[in-house]
Symmetry: C2
Subunit: 152 residues, 2 copies
DNA sequence: ATAGTATTGTTGTAAATGCAACAAATTTTT
DNA sequence: AAAAATTTGTTGCATTTACAACAATACTAT
């Protein structure tokens, strides 16, 4: 049986695609002179969706460890886009957070700029195509996740 | 129109999948006590495929910049798995490389161990499913690549 | 009740990564 | 022929990242 080389594997394609997207995001954020980083943007968006989320839950979602999630939040707090407060979850003290008014505006603004900049990209793929691709990837990932010992 | 949040985007799924795969690879390599890193493994595999490849071309393929590609090769050379030599490409001096005998054996050995460890994973997806997913991702990536200014 | 275990967040540190600057050589332009 | 630009690889540095250790608190078990 012929060996499947690294460059021929699905692993490679996904890594490559992820890297291209990350670079693209970085370039956009630089070019558009946004005052948050892509990671901070993701965090803001997630916080807007899960209002009052705690740090660890956020960490799981944005795919960072707790340490780095804390650092991203430090930055967002310093910029005045979120505020943190102590609360309990399952009888445990946790730091929860929510967007400030400025944070909400920043998010909206960033969304708008990105959307404008990306409008050309969206013509080429139908909603349906994207959705199908997404479903396949999720199925694929959910499977390999079973093999993984995740500690966040 | 409803806003698509970060966690609902294809961007997120691909990033997440890439991260899961990277973690999984790291765990496997640790657990199996391999004496190369996942990145070094990718490099070895690519070098075995493109015998005599030069550093920059390798960099493009393994998705690292030239600096880090050089560092990975330093490590592989120190371990005796590759040898580098100066040659020309388009009339320019470049450093090309090829596997040593030990490098070839190391690659074969690593392949074997990984294959054994992954055999359970492959049952769940048919070749066809993987191929279709791969095609979709490639198409998707090729499109967003057009938006990107890549400098390697 | 006391000891052990688990959860959450922070800090420190080492490794990985990207980027800019550089050297050396070659090609292109003027 | 000289100057400018390009290609390739290396070095240094700043940023990102992961991981381990820790503190504080709460839960669980004996």
């Amino acid at each position: 049986m012929k060996k499947i080389h690294y460059t021929e594997s699905i692993h490679y394609e996904i890594e490559k695609t992820a890297r291209v997207m990350k670079l693209l995001a970085a370039q956009f954020f630089t070019k558009l002179n946004l005052n948050i980083t892509p990671d901070e943007y993701s965090a803001l968006d997630v916080i807007s969706y899960y209002n009052g989320i705690c740090q660890r839950d956020l960490a799981k979602i944005i795919l960072k460890d707790r340490a780095n999630t804390g650092r991203i939040l430090n930055s967002l707090e310093k910029k005045g886009f979120i505020k943190r407060f102590v609360d309990t979850k399952n009888n445990r003290l946790v730091r929860k957070m929510q967007l400030t008014k400025e944070g909400g505006e920043e998010l909206k603004n960033t969304d708008l700029k990105l959307k404008k900049h990306l409008s050309s990209a969206q013509k080429f793929f139908s909603h349906e195509e994207i959705e199908n691709l997404q479903k396949s990837i999720i199925k694929f990932r959910e499977h390999i996740e079973k093999l993984l010992e995740l500690n966040i």
